[in-house]
Symmetry: C2
Amino acid sequence: MPKTAGIILIGNEILSGKIADANAAYLCRELRELGVEVRRITVIPDEVDLIAREVAEFSRAFDVVFTSGGVGPTHDDVTMEGVAQALGTRVVRHPHLVELLQRYYGDRINDASLRMAEVPDGAELLSGGSLRFPTVFARNVYVLPGVPEIFRQKFDTLRERFRDEPYHLRQVFVVIGESAIAEHLNTVLAAFPELLLGSYPEFSNPEYRVKVTLESKDLGYVEAALAALLDRLPADAVVKVIQGR
Amino acid sequence: MPKTAGIILIGNEILSGKIADANAAYLCRELRELGVEVRRITVIPDEVDLIAREVAEFSRAFDVVFTSGGVGPTHDDVTMEGVAQALGTRVVRHPHLVELLQRYYGDRINDASLRMAEVPDGAELLSGGSLRFPTVFARNVYVLPGVPEIFRQKFDTLRERFRDEPYHLRQVFVVIGESAIAEHLNTVLAAFPELLLGSYPEFSNPEYRVKVTLESKDLGYVEAALAALLDRLPADAVVKVIQGR
């Protein structure tokens, strides 16, 4: 079984269309490269009870969970409270974070900035690389900030924790429509039931009409399935076969 | 109470990082403009039971639900089955869709293409504009395709169904940090508890450090809250105030 992940984006600004999230797409690509299966993404408002409910469900359902957003010093930054509630605990001020914040803010430190020292009781702090502030980790939940630059910087320091058996990807580009290949896909899937098989039509690309993706963590399996598919497709329908991305 | 909406994106290709979704961000912007509150977005795999579970929950929780993806002729297009199961019914072949597909495909029609005539029993077909195929609508669920051009084309024909009282937005750009304004935001929120108040730090913009957004469907309320905020902020901290987007 591949390692599974869930992603929780927290922020009214995404739901109200003010900001287009970039973190989920980035994380999906990175985790796939690492061999991790993302099973669900959810986008929810900055509301403690909703965050708690989603985090609790994701934490039970998936091996690892990532949250994005809601970790600053203002009224709408309630992710830590939500995560704490999900894990049946409360937030506490972490002395090491207090120290880091004091060093960063100096005389300008106030109650609002000290909110950023609050973590779910029992959480670990994960330092690494050139991070100014460590990543908060509680049970199987990594709490990441919404700002894309910092989100990526933090994920970079965590990346190797998640590495698993890689997926092997093959892509077949055809110039006939989805309806014309559907039966062949079904036949291949009947012979290779564990194959991850995708079919993506393209309506404005002059080079091909459908991209078919075949994936498995078992290299022999995906190669055999690819051979079976190419064997069935009309030879002049296939314009290109690619290994990997 | 504003009208609420939920968005369900269906597709392994998003979760596996092959495609970055564009439909949710588009729909959030459009619905906000129309005065509709998007309460949740979920991204799930092409699996009937998962689709059924999410659609059932969203359909109960929100006034309108939009699904994106999983409506083609291949094995991984199982949205209609999922929606049907969520609504306690099954899929049936709709005679009008069969007719449209026969006209479109002519002699090349086959079982795979006829899958696209399947809809949840009792669903309505919504025609409009220059749509080649109508939109499937069942209970409060609009079933839209994943391909962005067609998704937008279909939403355009539906748009006026969702128009509600507009949100009034004011944006204040400040050159001091979030920690320094947090207390002022809290004070304003205490006086205007119904205000939708957002605070968005910017780390690489030379013009400002935080964008504060104030929103309400009550124009007088948002104007009064804005005045209260500007009254509290140090005058030289505010670089710009914008009405609307």
